[in-house]
Symmetry: C2
Subunit: 328 residues, 2 copies
Amino acid sequence: MHDIAATAGVSRGTVSRVLNGGYVSASARAAIERAIREVGYVPNTAARNLVMQRSQAIGFIVLEPHSLFLEDPNIGGIMLGANAALSAADYQMVNLVVDSERDTARITRYLSGGFVDGAIIVSARSHDPIIQVVGGIALPSAFVGHPRDLHPDIPYVGIDNIASAEEITRRLVATGRRRVGMIASAVDRDSGADRLIGFQRALGPAFDEALVAEVPLYDFACGAKGMRTLLERDPTIDGVFAASDAVAAGAMEALREAGRTVPDDVGVVGFDDSSWATRTRPHLSTVHQPAGDIGSRAADLVLRQLRGESIDRGGVLMPSPVVWRASA
Amino acid sequence: MHDIAATAGVSRGTVSRVLNGGYVSASARAAIERAIREVGYVPNTAARNLVMQRSQAIGFIVLEPHSLFLEDPNIGGIMLGANAALSAADYQMVNLVVDSERDTARITRYLSGGFVDGAIIVSARSHDPIIQVVGGIALPSAFVGHPRDLHPDIPYVGIDNIASAEEITRRLVATGRRRVGMIASAVDRDSGADRLIGFQRALGPAFDEALVAEVPLYDFACGAKGMRTLLERDPTIDGVFAASDAVAAGAMEALREAGRTVPDDVGVVGFDDSSWATRTRPHLSTVHQPAGDIGSRAADLVLRQLRGESIDRGGVLMPSPVVWRASA
DNA sequence: TTGTAGGCGTTATCAC
DNA sequence: GTGATAACGCCTACAA
């Protein structure tokens, strides 16, 4: 900036004023703008950050094993939704991938070092060092995903997994299924546990533990494996709630291998309403997750705090309606 | 830092020395470390960046329509590979999503504003404003993906789409297929165009334009549509090269609907060796893309420049071997 | 309207 | 070993 002040024959203060916006004479402005072009000047944001005490950047962090980061059909939508909201407010979303202990330590520094003004954190767990830091330095943040056991000052946004699982299971039963099972993924995570709870709640006394196949991941292969387990345990099974669409697709594959048709022999429903849902034959009945809305809502929560507005502590649950297609 | 210097009764210089590493007496160090804990001090990275003239951060940018960003099976692997390499060198990878004109403008400022010391750019196109900027300020960078028509000073890493497409097509032919077609996706992009070129090259004079179905995207639905087109144009078709595994999966679905078996009636091969490849029945023969290696190689290219080492201008092609499974 | 000068939080270069 | 002090590049009163 020194250079351009010199070549334009003005003081640095005046240059700063045209860069931002203040009272500058037309002649001075013209000279400065020309000088800027000549010198190829670009403002140094680091210096600006230092004096302004803000970076106009918001971190977006997914605290999941990276396999899931790659596979989860919702993460991308959440990111895009968040980015759209942040972008509109002229904030740069910076996505940080945590894939090792080392990443965690480095990101911790990054967050507390003034690189970002806030953070959106997906799938936080209370014990995670990153959320300790966020809480510790009171970085304006929002959680996406796990509603419970988190820092009391940080809001979250998610969906009601229990209610939606319950609802879609009820409708599965309403199609006349008598022996309905579930392929329950990742029951060690809130979403997985909640979907199982909802399933059980819908069935009430008819719930049969033997008709629940637990699998570790929300993926296709686990779905196929879970379905085979279920068929083995009870060949008369005629309804299945899969914990995600990918799981459901895997289940349908196993069903086809076993010679069963969907929905005639077995009705199957999924969860997520991801691209899997319309990739299967027939298309999946499932629970719609408004990923984009979740992301933009989380962004909004952070932006509000940045503006000093008050927000509800606790969480906001976005609607996740059942979408009925042909698989059940 | 001022505070902790005061409470520890030393100068800021000494504090800085214990933070980084220099000669400090044990007593001073102890006093300072205690003060740090008491005050809950965290170093301000923005200030450090300003004086150090570096941020220890590298941007990672995907210049694709966001739909592809969500669907592409390779992007995630490339990201992870890049992150691993950068992390090991103690650099923070920051992922920037571009999803609008506005994003482009903002990212442009971000890159030239000192937020990052370098950038990895996936799927760059020469006309993109972002690569203009990168070239303009000589930001140490590497491109992933499109080998041609780019900035001469910036290296790239990718695979040889032409050679691999040619190789897998040849092996398809070698299984005895007489009427082999291709479902060609995104022929307006380098990867898509190259795979088509390789296909044509493998077939030589036997190449029949009518057996090429062009579809816009590398996805499942396009694969199914392309396959139906092909079957319609020539019911005797007995071999198909799909431009990606997702496309191949869609093609197999269409084949099944048409009552054809794979590989008996029709042999099909894909490209990517993504999770799709082992999700189909039978598993797909395909071209392996070493996504992780590509990412870490790109990171390495950037790190080298940062260290002032010389690198080869031009590009590096990573090996992308055919993996033979059961679908052909 | 414009110039001057102090300060943002660090690091680095000196003397001491 | 340690303490001043000058940058780093920018913004913003305050004066002129």
